[in-house]
Point group: C2
């Protein structure tokens, strides 16, 4: 891993001794000695900060371009980075950029008028945000706890992600059929409907949840099968928005896919 | 575009007047007036710098996750950013990270021993680097000039990308069949072979270039057709390395694909 660099920086730290050993050759007046290590510490910490940011940005690229094998937790070194990204402007700006691209594309498509042009949306981290849950669970640095997460889902309190709500309304307005295709269980249908409605998602053509027989399947397989069914029913899948590559890849892929950012978890 | 923010920052700049108008309410002794705007200018420029970095990083994410419609030039605001990325550590670290992931995966695969396990490599910006050419052509900020680029290719001077050479040797050593699948023309076969050999790529099972009838095809179509042929010949495509999504998506997709970084150009 590229984090060896960071570890080396950490292990070779012992800041004070380093600062003083550097100064031993030149006997400086007292006040300067007191000032110098402080500046050095600040610089070193900045450097470390920059290095962590650099490595974690690189890691995030590897995630978003689907280059990693299935992973269960974010790197420990990147917890603060992911927190800053999710809570700061980074996530919002990236999300908006992808949603805007999707909107431009949606408007550019010539719909056939036969009611068979479809757009698929995933739900979690696509339409609805579970960030309030992940704030309480280390931003992806804890092993996923399905019981605790289901408890959160049962509350039906996940807020809308604004740029998705905007895209959703545009896509509906343009006359696309809207399919919601989620990894959530069929048992969570009513709370999901309630949550969607309360968050402002008030209309869809089909809400597809995992039936009992789908639970053992990989998301990629389950979602591909559901897209295959849409194609068999004569739909053309023109757009697909999801935060996981397993929302987008597989068979019966969409004409254009939109990968929304999510550095917190990975679903194969 | 998210660059509106940057434009606003630019247009609302008029730094000096801003600094002075801010000071008008408090009459300060002369030397302080001279110092204050300078600090302010420095801070503002830093801020602008940070903002450009922020927006261009976001743009790069959109590129690498394949969320943009075909684009012909990098955003003008990002020329310096892309230059810094390509010439600095960023590109190298990102490239190494993806190649390392590919290597870990390659070693984890159980080969069948029937000689039908294949790995595909693209050539340009995957095995060989055209960075010397793009350094002279604005790092993707100029419209692609096929005549000038072909002249560069004819020199046969493109250097190896080190992490790819390492992966290449690992993959060969593990017993994969190696297919090189490039958008270069069949006419460039001999110079391509020479360039590859000189750069250290000395063995492959098949080098596939565009024949006359392939020239009008999109890269995605051409590369999918070639992968289809491999599958028809009984190969299992287990790995695929490329810097363009058109190297990786389409039909007969690889079991695992590795998207190498390339913020300089896009091939549909």
């Amino acid at each position: 891993m590229g984090f060896i660099g960071i570890l080396l920086l950490f292990s070779s730290f012992s800041l004070i001794s380093l600062a003083f050993s550097h100064d031993n050759a030149h006997v400086l007046p007292r006040p300067l000695i007191h000032q110098y290590p402080e500046t050095l510490i600040a610089n070193r910490l900045n450097e470390l900060d920059e290095e962590v940011k650099f490595q974690c940005t690189s890691w995030r690229f590897t995630v978003e371009a689907n280059n990693l094998s299935p992973w269960k937790m974010i790197p420990r070194e990147c917890v603060e980075y992911v927190k800053d990204y999710m809570m700061g402007r980074g996530y919002r700006i990236d999300f908006e950029r992808v949603s805007n691209e999707a909107g431009v594309y949606a408007k550019s498509v010539q719909l056939s008028g036969d009611g068979k042009d479809a757009w698929i949306f995933d739900i979690d981290e696509t339409l609805l945000s579970n960030l309030p849950y992940y704030q309480e669970h280390g931003y992806g640095s804890e092993i996923f706890d399905p019981v605790a997460f289901d408890k959160w889902v049962e509350k039906g309190m996940a807020p809308a992600i604004d740029p998705s709500l905007k895209l959703y309304e545009e896509v509906l307005g343009l006359g696309f059929k809207v399919f919601l295709l989620t990894g959530r269980s069929e048992k969570q249908r009513s709370v999901t409907v309630e949550n969607l409605m309360n968050a402002g998602f008030r209309y869809w053509d089909k809400l597809i949840l995992r039936a009992a027989e789908d639970h053992a399947k990989l998301a990629t397989t389950y979602k591909s099968e559901k897209r295959n069914e849409m194609i068999e029913e004569g739909y053309r899948i023109l757009g697909n928005s999801g935060d996981q590559w397993s929302d987008l890849l597989g068979s019966s892929m969409s004409n254009r896919s939109f990968k929304l950012p999510n550095p917190m978890y990975y679903i194969p």
